[in-house]
């Protein structure tokens, strides 16, 4: 494996880990209630 292929691989890995981390954080059942709240609130701003 040459150095640029290694670099591409590590970069992809890093991005995947960050992406996975964000998904894990927001999909944690503990936070569901709070994260999903605005979608209900936005429905009742009308007169």
């Amino acid at each position: 494996m040459n150095s640029s292929a290694l670099f591409y691989f590590l970069f992809t890995l890093l991005l995947s880990v960050i992406f996975g981390g964000i998904i894990r954080y927001y999909y944690n059942p503990k936070r569901k209630q709070k994260i999903e709240e605005p979608k209900h609130r936005m429905l009742d701003d009308e007169q």
Partner: protein
């Protein structure tokens, strides 16, 4: 909860996220000489060619004609040698285009004599009945405005003195208005009599078209 209740933080974070890809793929390459290499064989446009290029831009020729031959077999067969990065070192802006309603022009220089272009610009349909190119005969009725030519080349850093620019303009005028000019007959046909001894916009755009790809062709013939 988190950043969705902090608009300023949210905005800063958005900007940061947006700037990462921009920096890596666009801003950093700006400072890498390998993105746009410069080669001695590629010469900047003369003032007349540059004025022609500005007319090409003004008329939006780039909306139908590309100026990049891709390294594909049939494309090289159709247009000629594929485009090299160094050819574009003096192109501000680049005119690669995105759509080929008409053929690619990156190798048009020297392909046809000037007379072909005068006739074709005057009336594309007279040469190709089914062509959908707009006629540009009116360019021959406009005297070429060279009042900003020096300013233009100096902004672009072509390194011409004011005198160089004057010489380029008068030389090209002498060339196309001379009795010995090979395309004289066609030029006189499309140009109004009062402009026979002046440079027109048509002269300039043809000068520009004849420059496209010439440096590459010259290099090849030298080899």
């Amino acid at each position: 909860m988190g950043i969705t209740s902090k608009p300023v933080v949210f905005a800063v974070l958005s900007a940061a996220v947006i700037l990462i890809g921009s920096t890596v793929t666009v801003f950093i390459p700006l400072f890498m000489p390998s993105t746009q290499p410069v080669s001695a064989y590629v010469k900047p446009y003369t003032s007349v060619e540059l004025e022609g290029r500005d007319i090409y831009m003004r008329e939006g020729c780039n909306n139908c004609h590309t100026q990049t031959v891709r390294p594909l077999r049939t494309e090289v067969l159709r247009y000629g040698e594929y485009s090299k990065p160094e050819e574009f070192a003096y192109d501000r802006p680049f005119l690669w285009g995105s759509r080929r309603t008409g053929p690619d022009l990156n190798r048009i220089g020297g392909k046809y004599p000037d007379s072909w272009h005068y006739r074709h610009m005057q009336s594309p349909q007279s040469m190709f009945e089914k062509s959908n190119m707009p006629p540009y005969g009116w360019l021959a009725k406009n005297r070429l405005d060279t009042s900003n030519s020096y300013k233009k080349t100096s902004i672009l850093g072509y390194g011409f003195s004011e005198q160089d620019v004057q010489v380029q303009i008068s030389q090209y005028r002498s060339k196309v208005t001379a009795d010995t000019y090979l395309s004289k007959e066609t030029r006189d046909l499309v140009t109004p009599a009062e402009l026979h001894h002046e440079l027109t916009e048509m002269d300039a755009i043809i000068a520009y078209l004849q420059k496209l790809g010439r440096d590459v062709k010259n290099l090849e013939t030298k080899k």
